[in-house]
């Protein structure tokens, strides 16, 4: 007689811990794969996880086994053409026909890569390990739009649906005990007295009658205390409180003048992807505003931002001004956490640079949580860098960083957002 058990409802993921161990062990390799994969993604694609591949030899578990060579005697099925004594050319690749049962399975030459997927969360965790957002304070203002309802104790009045039965009955029990305790004690004493008198051999009729009357009166009094009273009722109380804002907007500013080639743009794109992913980990919704500029600035969509061709001179302040206008127009209500990221090759019309410094210091930086400027160039710095460098020493929420090639992006990004305690270590 068999015993059937339905295990389907048991917790899944018995192997989760083993999986975590595996990921922990190969963190270095996985990290490398993750940072390689960044460039292939769209900026706002955070829903998908990532395919990770690790060289197989790195994760092999070595055992003693036999190698190629020597004399082997192998039996195969399905003879269709051979007779005893036939000689067959050795197939190239060394292995005999097919692979004999139970051997050569550990050679590890079948597949070079061990490929698997990690989830979105695992991907982001690995990508942003040890990083944190600087100056993170959640904006909270008078005109907050979101509230959350939470339980806030009990009250004596309310709707019947909110009645808390257990609490109410506890009150009822307590009230009944409080109101009847003295009488019950007295009743007990009288009953004891009555029993004693009845056992007494002497005549006590009058006394007994008096006590019986008292007992009856007390019992009536106790019975009059109601089982439940409106006084006992307790209702659950709910209250609302404002929620801190979890909205962020990220401004991507990029120079698209003739001097910026596609490669430089790709490098900038990687930086924006990282920033977007990172922000979306902290904030529920992140909006992205793309501003590109040459001598004039324009707000565009992602595709145009990265791939349209423009030529002409460069006036950086036009973009900063547009950003300021957009902030005033759409994101000035205080519910938004504003981040700015600007990429450029450092070219600017020399007279414009002080204007940029002024715009940043007086208008943008006070409104922004954090503003990063990356300069992607292999040439010496020009006027813009000098101005921005000066601004960055005066403001803790402004950082400029020099990047020479794609390979610098991820390290530079990590440095920008390095966790305060991690850098102290």
């Amino acid at each position: 007689m068999a015993h059937f058990i339905d295990r389907r409802l048991n917790s899944k993921g018995k192997s989760t811990i083993n999986r975590q161990r595996f990921i922990k062990r190969y963190k270095q390799q996985i990290k490398r794969a993750v940072s390689d994969a960044v460039g292939k993604r769209s900026v706002t694609d955070v829903e998908s996880g990532e395919q990770i591949s690790i060289p197989k030899r790195d994760i092999s578990e070595p055992i003693f086994h036999t190698g190629k060579g020597g004399k082997r005697h192998i039996v195969h099925p399905g003879n269709d053409q051979f007779t005893a004594g036939d000689k067959i050319e050795r197939p190239l690749g060394g292995e005999g026909q097919g692979s004999g049962a139970g051997e050569a399975s550990n050679e590890g030459e079948g597949q070079d890569e061990f490929v698997f997927s990690i989830s979105k969360d695992e991907y982001l965790n690995i990508l942003f390990e040890d990083l944190e957002l600087p100056n993170l304070q959640k904006n909270q203002f008078a005109q907050v739009t979101q509230y959350e309802t939470y339980r806030a104790g009990y009250q004596t009045d309310g709707m019947p649906t909110n009645l808390d039965i257990v609490r109410s009955l506890k009150g009822s029990v307590a009230r009944r005990i409080a109101l009847t305790a003295a009488d019950k004690r007295k009743l007990g004493e009288l009953e004891e007295e009555l029993r004693r008198l009845r056992e007494d051999k002497h005549e006590n009729t009058l006394h007994i009658l008096a006590i019986e009357k008292d007992i009856a009166a007390l019992k009536a009094k106790i019975a009059k205390v109601p089982f439940i009273d409106t006084f006992d009722l307790r209702f659950k109380n709910y209250d609302t409180r404002p929620l801190p804002s979890s909205k962020a907007v990220m401004f991507c500013l990029m120079d698209v003048s003739g001097s910026m080639d596609q490669e430089t743009k790709e490098t900038a794109k990687r930086f924006y992807i990282l920033l977007y992913l990172f922000l979306s980990r902290t904030y529920e919704n992140v909006e992205v505003v793309y501003i590109r500029h040459h001598t004039q600035a324009k707000e565009v969509d992602e595709n145009e931002f990265f791939y349209s061709q423009e030529t002409g001179g460069t006036i950086v302040s036009s973009a900063l001004k547009l950003m300021k206008d957009i902030i005033n127009e759409r994101y000035s209500d205080g519910a938004w956490n504003i981040y700015g990221a600007q990429a450029s090759d450092g070219d600017n019309w020399a007279d414009d640079s002080p204007k940029c410094g002024d715009l940043l210091t007086n208008h943008l930086l006070p409104a922004c949580r954090y503003y990063t400027y990356i300069e992607i160039t292999q040439r010496p710095h020009q006027s813009l860098w000098k101005i921005f460098d000066a601004v960055s020493t005066a403001h803790s929420n402004f950082i400029c960083k020099h990047i020479e090639s794609q390979a610098d992006i991820y390290p530079a990004f990590r440095e920008l957002f390095k966790r305060a305690d991690a850098s102290a270590r």
């Binding site: 007689m1 068999a2 015993h3 059937f4 058990i5 339905d6 295990r7 389907r8 899944k12 993921g13 018995k14 192997s15 811990i17 083993n18 999986r19 975590q20 161990r21 595996f22 922990k24 062990r25 092999s60 578990e61 070595p62 055992i63 003693f64 086994h65 036999t66 190698g67 190629k68 060579g69 020597g70 004399k71 082997r72 005697h73 192998i74 039996v75 195969h76 099925p77 399905g78 003879n79 269709d80 051979f82 007779t83 005893a84 004594g85 036939d86 000689k87 067959i88 050319e89 050795r90 005999g96 026909q97 097919g98 692979s99 004999g100 049962a101 139970g102 550990n106 698997f116 997927s117």
Partner: protein, 506 residues
């Protein structure tokens, strides 16, 4: 046939959906028929699980629970990837050699598949692990689950006490040597007895030497004999993990216990490795007979039977050597055909069978198959029962692959001259001691640097693969003094083929 008549001679519902009541009805019928075929089983515990839980079970080498280790995570990820991409279907069942015998059924099986799986696993595999001599002598079905619970907790405790990395290192090293953690020749129960005996012999020898000393009259030093340095171990040891557990100089007690756990688990799986063909063949043989019996009793419909035969025939299919699906001999196919053939030889033997299999031709088939199941392992089963008819049916041929020659030669095919060669070659193919390299603990330099020397004795000049360097590193982690692996050449000379620490590196 001593099968009781069906208690409920009405047709069972053929699904395709199943429910627990229906499973119970099927199970009762299967049980009744199995008893009629004298299948002796442990009590069954049948658990219905989902695909994901099945993958969990895969990852922990088929056990319902196991200690935590990254390699199981790797296995899980691998299985999951392959399953998601459709490169592999999951098994319909997993059965655990324990008492009660735990069998997992996948929830997405149809009722036909569930019946097939119950007959296959809960009666086929179950009776095999209760009856086969290897399982009887090597494993203790009633205690394995408890032991795994102990192992899991012990290792979890060690992780808390000594750190996850420490424990992982030891486990990694033990896993590298896991295949060398079994006693191949001596049987576990006899160890204590044997130890008793050797201890007693040692005592005797010691007393004897005292006696000799007393009676010695010749003055010492007359002929200064070159004292033969005492060897340790006295005889080469095949069980590397056991040797390490008992003799590694610097292991902490908890590390020894972990070595022991890995060794025990390895030992537990040792019989399964050696009886793959028989075990699967036996289970297929019985699901085939039980379900056919149900059909004969009109318990199941034609539709049920068609579905069953379809899965059955794809399980016992043997692709030919030049087929793209070919990956060696299918143990299900070979095992099933051999048991069917034993039945045939018993029931209707031919002249040839009387010549090649005189011991079973014309005997009672039920007794004979039980005898074959109980007393053999793959290697001996094939050399005993592989009949010429099977060799012809499978069109088996033997290849001789000698790397010193530029061609491969066909040494035998399925003809009269070849039967014997093929039988021998196929039997040797399932001999574990041919498949796993012969490596033994040869010497420990107890008076010197405590270095450990292993010796590899190649068979048929087959060399050891390059992974040996890595494995030696693991061995060094356990032994903590120099370790060396030498190969014995046919002329008796030896050559060091791997060592750790490597002499070049400081």
């Amino acid at each position: 046939m001593p099968i009781q008549a069906a208690s409920s001679p009405h047709k069972l519902d053929d699904g395709p959906d199943w429910n627990f009541d229906l499973l119970l009805q099927y199970e009762q019928e299967i049980d009744r028929i199995a008893r009629g075929f004298k299948l002796d089983t442990y009590p069954n515990q049948i658990e219905v699980i989902t695909a994901e839980q099945m993958m969990d079970a895969y990852a922990s080498i088929g056990m319902p629970l196991n200690y935590t280790h990254w390699s199981f995570g790797k296995k899980f990820i691998q299985t999951e990837q392959q399953y998601k991409r459709g490169q592999m279907g999951l098994a319909y069942e997993i059965v655990i050699n324990s008492s009660p015998c735990i069998a997992y059924l996948m929830e997405e099986n149809t009722v036909t598949m569930q019946a097939l799986v119950m007959a296959h696993a809960c009666y086929g595999h179950n009776s095999f692990s209760k009856g086969n001599y290897l399982f009887k002598t090597w494993t203790d079905a009633s205690s394995i689950i408890d032991y795994l619970v102990f192992a899991k907790n012990y290792i979890a405790n060690c992780e808390q006490k000594y750190g996850i990395n420490e424990v992982e290192n030891i486990l990694d090293s033990c896993h590298a040597l896991m295949n060398f953690g079994v006693d191949r020749y001596k049987r576990p129960q006899k160890i204590s007895l044997q130890e008793e005996k050797t201890r007693q012999q040692e005592r005797e020898a010691y007393l004897q030497s005292q006696v000799n000393e007393l009676w010695r009259t010749l003055p010492e030093g007359a002929q200064k004999k070159q004292a033969q340095p005492a060897r340790f171990p006295e005889e080469p040891q095949e069980n590397l993990l056991y040797f390490i557990e008992k003799n590694a100089p610097l292991l902490e007690p908890w590390q020894r216990e972990i070595v022991r756990i890995v060794r025990k688990v390895s030992q537990y799986f040792y019989p399964q490795k050696q009886t793959q063909v028989m075990n699967e063949g036996w289970a297929c043989f019985w699901h085939y007979h039980i379900l056919n019996q149900m059909y004969d009793e009109k318990l199941v419909s034609d539709r049920f039977m068609m579905e069953f035969l379809h899965s059955h025939s794809s399980v016992v299919m043997q692709p030919e050597y030049n087929s793209p699906y070919y990956s060696g001999i299918n143990p299900y196919a070979l095992g099933f055909s051999m048991f069917m053939d034993i039945k045939r030889v018993c029931q209707s033997p031919t002249e040839e069978d009387y010549y090649y299999l005189p011991s079973i031709a014309g005997k009672d088939w039920l007794e004979t198959v039980h005898f074959a199941m109980q007393n053999f392992k793959d290697e001996s089963f094939i050399s005993q029962f592989l009949s010429p008819k099977i060799i012809r049916d499978f069109k088996l041929f033997a290849l001789e692959d000698d790397t010193s020659k530029s061609f491969i030669s066909v040494s035998a095919i399925h003809d009269e001259k070849g039967y014997h060669t093929i039988k021998e070659a196929l039997s040797a193919q399932y001999n574990l001691s041919n498949l796993e390299p012969n490596i033994q603990v040869y010497n420990v330099d107890i008076c010197g640097d405590r270095s450990l020397t292993l010796r590899y004795i190649p068979q048929n000049d087959i060399p050891l693969a390059n992974s040996r360097q890595e494995v030696m590193r693991h061995l060094h982690r356990l032994w903590k003094f120099d370790v060396r692996l030498e190969q014995e050449h046919p002329d008796g000379k030896t050559e060091v083929i791997a060592q750790c620490p490597h002499p070049e590196s400081p």
